[in-house]
Symmetry: C2
Subunit: 347 residues, 2 copies
């Protein structure tokens, strides 16, 4: 098994550091527990296990029974490992200072497949034959609007009488009470008019657009680890209930494709993708790799450094600038460039 | 404006009949309210309206303000109209007997676009140049598993101490207490093992596969209108909280494509799609239409009848059989075949 992880911290480095050290161990332990069930990928894992881990066969009845694949089991193990990691951070915080929270993007290479698990706004893409293949989605106030609004609707006590789960295109002024304004709630993707009532004057749960969108005017990412103590500024309203520690897991069947020495998996924190598009990242890496010898052991590391330098930009009179004169990223940037050639042969 | 609707009732025809008569009027009234805002599709609708419906401009401040398109407004009007329709059924039930519930699939042709709104397990496809273009998704216990489990997790009182929101691959036997079984909850798409506790012996909120999947062992569709009184058999547990009356609205820009006389929109209830694939439906309609004169005014109606007869099958010794000898549909079937040619010119 191979493991890579990008842990992009915010409001302190404690959670990111702890997750970067422990998440891989949690996943490894959980995979070891079921290693004997993964050996033959065509044998579905048993539905029920005895306490010692061996398959347990209940008396057969005329039951409907779902077939579960080995792939689903690995996905479930990764999903539950993220939760265990998050619980562990919460528990350790009782005894130690573990500051902030972090986005977690990990990739596991196991049994001919890449499992890409993402909780946050980092991103992974595969560049194969100069084609971009996205293998993760970002989780932000905009992409998770309906989930967050649904929670605020079902559990209004979590909004602390300060926020409304309904979205409006802008803040409402007191003078607009009784007038009609465009709105959308957790059930809608379109917009309709509603008459403005007192409750609508509260601050919106989701507010702002693009990189400036925030949950409860505080955080711009909606999945990750940590943040157990995060509160709305100057209030007692906890934000953690709205954050999910559960990753979305996508599977790339590495053994079903041919990969050349310039075909790579690229993982990066949002600092990279904010200023450089998928296509530009792919082109930059392809151009860089084609300029180096295929057997240069440093070529992938140097490609990652090149990507980082491009996105940081160059210090000019008016700040750090990209080649196209736009502002470079002021955010932290983490990048991995991982070669895919030869991986078909490993397990 | 043109309007088509498929209302597939269950547990009585009351809700389906009422919705088939009133939903179009609700939508028409709501569109009339904003007709003056739709005239120029490039003018975004005003964010705030005075009580008389004219745009209201608050004192300008340095506010962030979202741009809302005319298309989003029409989508929002359709979404809120479904809710109003559902509320109306609930209200009328106080005075009249309105039995059962229904899936609702509607298509509206307005300003060069088709708005396809689906709440239930009916389906619409477009056949253009013999290519199948899906324009709706179905909402079933399987496709909405995570939404339903999330609600059961957040509001366990809705499960009435009879059901568990956790999914298992099969029913658990009492003798399996303390053993480990594969499970997944609302956060997971994969499966992992958990130790079975007493609570896991409850009946699963979602149970069964494919067409046999049910919510609370009762209903096989998770969106629609009506069903306000629906309860789990022999209990006081209401199912309506788990059902959504909100449609998913998809937009097809009819004016951006060329359509020939054999290009059609096909709407059908699940009775059609259960036995005939999208591809087979498209082929059957294309073959039928090409055998009739392009100016035959009955050709689309006859194509729909032909589709219906195919899916019903022929009565043989061993029941109603399709040409491929598989069982025909025993369900009600509703089909519309709607020509798209010429629609580019209308508004």
């Amino acid at each position: 098994m191979h493991f890579w992880g990008v842990f992009d911290g915010h409001a302190g480095s404690g959670a990111a550091l702890m997750a970067s050290k422990l998440l891989q161990l949690i996943i490894r332990d959980r995979l070891c527990d079921v290693a004997h069930l993964l050996e033959n990928q065509n044998n579905p894992p048993p539905i029920c296990l005895a306490k010692n881990g061996s398959p347990f066969q209940a008396e057969p009845r005329f039951h409907m029974e779902k077939d579960i694949s080995v792939e689903s089991l690995v996905m479930g193990i990764i999903e539950t490992a993220f939760r265990q990691m998050d619980d562990l951070i919460e528990k350790e915080k009782e005894s130690y200072s573990i500051s902030g929270g972090c986005c977690a993007l990990i990739v596991i290479h196991l049994l001919g497949k890449l499992y890409v698990a993402n909780a946050g706004d980092s991103r992974a893409i595969i560049v194969r034959n100069n084609e971009v293949i996205p293998v993760s989605n970002e989780f932000t106030p905009e992409s998770e609007r309906q989930r967050l609004q649904y929670l605020g609707f079902l559990k209004p006590e979590l909004l602390g009488n300060e926020f409304t789960h309904i979205e409006f295109p802008r803040r409402i002024q007191h003078s607009e009470l009784g007038k009609k304004m465009l709105f959308r709630d957790h059930t809608m993707t379109g917009w309709a008019y509603k008459t403005i009532v007192e409750d609508d004057l509260k601050f919106p749960l989701i507010y702002g657009e693009g990189k400036k969108a925030r949950v409860m005017a505080t955080i711009g990412v909606t999945r990750g680890l940590g943040d157990h103590d995060l509160k709305v500024y100057n209030s007692n309203i906890h934000i953690k209930p709205f954050l999910s520690c559960c990753p979305e897991v996508k599977v790339y069947k590495i053994s079903e494709h041919k990969h050349g020495s310039d075909d790579v998996l690229i993982m990066g924190s949002d600092g990279l993708w904010d200023v450089t598009t998928d296509r530009d990242v792919a082109d930059a890496v392809s151009t860089f790799l084609s300029s180096r010898e295929p057997n240069d052991p440093l070529r992938y590391t140097l490609a990652a450094q090149d990507l980082l330098m491009r996105s940081r930009g160059v210090l000019k009179e008016r700040g750090w600038r990209l080649p196209n004169e736009r502002l470079g990223s002021g955010d932290d940037i983490t990048v991995f460039v991982i070669p895919l050639a030869g991986a078909e042969l490993e397990t």
